[in-house]
Symmetry: C2
Subunit: 327 residues, 2 copies
């Protein structure tokens, strides 16, 4: 397929620009209506073989996942999305219909969050399929961004869904043959189909004073480690392992607590809140989102990341994040 | 080098955030101060082996070139830069100091245009060095974006520098051994060190009613072709070949007119203007920028792209652009 045909197809796919996009695909740049509110901008890359595999999910789903992961960073700042930009690095060997399906996945996920795709770039090359997405959002009136540095001693630590489930999904995809055993399917779905938690954070911010927020892509210990570093505090974790993890972990020979704490691409939001969340709020969250809100521990003045053991003792944990290496 | 060490080094390199950046590198996303003015956003990718070669220029210069090329799209819209975001895809084999030099080049070029680097992403992979940059700008008060669709029959067509010079530079790099002959050095420099033409377009917009604008990356015929298509008009070209091209083209065995019209990464701005530019303005431009403002032809109601021959006849030209292909 030729570049300009591809761009023309994308332009038709996206339709005419709509607010806040004044000029969309087809010029040197996009034009967005001005906004008095503070803007939030994030860029994220998904590379085949590193961040996803095309044999694990259809091209459209690859695109949707990349869009959700990028938008998740806006949700973690308490921002609402305004526009998404997609730079595609396409292997020369990709089928045109797969390239278009990736784009359709990006656009449909963005649509789910009322966020128009306003522009991007396309280049063919000798390399893996790579998607670099940039999302622009804005903070609602009167809100300051939820930063990693916002945690204070005494805050409770919560997660908008069970941490580590995506790790179980990833291990399943890496180890087991298809079809995936029924007990492991929710975990696989969690890994392949993350969702940016805009509604969840809005729901919570309406009732609770939010401290720090981060989205879980490195796992509970790794991402909480970023919060502790930026906030200059420590934390004590006392997470209860979801009962559903036990069967899944037996099937895979994994330690459930290691899954909860270690690297995992959950894209749930981890947040801290000054006052204890009421049982009523926890219930309302459960009813609305059909998911448990997880209380995993509390922020301490004493630095370091500590795990409360069943016997009552404390064990120090080394935050472990996935890190890209080169050179 | 480890990812978080690299990001920490970039954070030190960039220093504390400054307006309009409120939160820069180190959180889930960057925060920019709100702007009432229409925003302009562009994303562009430079890939090793496709868009640049590391044996042709130092790593720092690769980064600077990518930043200038991305910012050039803002200039072509009549926007002023506010912030730049850099997503780096780093081959596992890259030396850490080269990766940092790329970033330093990006930051220094952005600095030249008073544009802070506010965030980005870094990933290691098996593939070529690739830089995806996203620039956010805003339109000055009272200005509408300069679009490709703004050309009207009767407009003159101008370029902020000699079109095709970068093509001669590229051919030089591809064909000749080092050291580069003196007569070819300006062309090589033009190819390797493009500059976003913010000052030029501001200077011109202060005196002339600007019609369409596009930055030259596909060459005069190719990029003018985009303008003609979006503006639903035609054009007649009567360009004079710069005298300096003749010696260079003899050395390389190239046709000077083909260099002027064909694919070339000049990143000069091509613009149309309703009234003839006065000799006084042309002189003022020359004095200020030490470069000729090129009048290359005029917009016609009759569709198609036509070249006025020395004998007075007209020849139709096929706009030819570099197109990425895949699939």
């Amino acid at each position: 397929m030729r570049e300009f045909d591809f761009i023309a197809a994308i332009r038709r796919m996206l339709g005419p620009p709509r607010r806040p996009v004044l000029v969309g695909v087809g010029d040197d740049a996009a034009v967005l209506a001005g906004s008095r509110r503070a803007e939030v901008v994030t860029t994220d890359t998904q590379i085949e073989g590193i961040h996803f595999r095309r044999e694990w999910q259809p091209a459209r789903s690859v695109g949707a996942r990349a869009a959700e992961i990028t938008l998740s960073d806006l949700a973690a700042m308490g921002a609402r999305p305004r526009a998404l930009f997609a730079a595609l690095h396409l292997p020369f060997s990709i089928r045109a219909r797969d390239a278009l399906a990736v784009m359709r996945g990006i656009a449909s996920a963005a649509e789910r969050h009322a966020c128009p795709v306003a522009g991007g770039n396309v280049a063919g090359y000798h390399g893996p399929l790579a998607l670099t997405l940039t999302a622009i959002g804005e903070l609602p009136a009167g809100r300051k961004a939820f930063l990693r540095s916002g945690a204070r001693p005494g805050d409770g630590i919560f997660v908008t869904g069970p941490p580590g489930l995506a790790r179980i999904g990833l291990e399943t995809l890496q180890r087991t043959r298809r079809p995936v055993p029924r007990a492991l399917r929710p975990a696989v779905r969690k890994y392949l189909e993350p969702r940016a938690r805009f509604e969840e954070i809005e729901f919570l911010a309406a009732s609770v004073r939010i401290g720090a927020v981060i989205d879980l892509s490195d796992g509970l210990a790794g991402d909480l480690g970023h919060v502790l570093e930026e906030s200059e505090v420590g934390a004590e974790l006392e997470p209860s392992v979801p009962s559903s993890y036990r069967e899944a972990c037996v099937l895979l020979g994994l330690d459930p607590m290691a899954c909860m704490l270690g690297p995992s691409d959950d894209y749930e939001l981890l947040f801290t809140a000054a006052k204890p969340l009421t049982e009523k709020l926890m219930q309302a969250f459960r009813r609305r989102f059909r998911r448990e809100l997880w209380r995993v521990g509390r922020i301490t003045k004493k630095r370091g990341l500590w795990l409360r053991l069943p016997g009552g003792g404390l064990r120090v944990i080394e935050p472990r994040s996935y890190e890209h290496r080169f050179g």
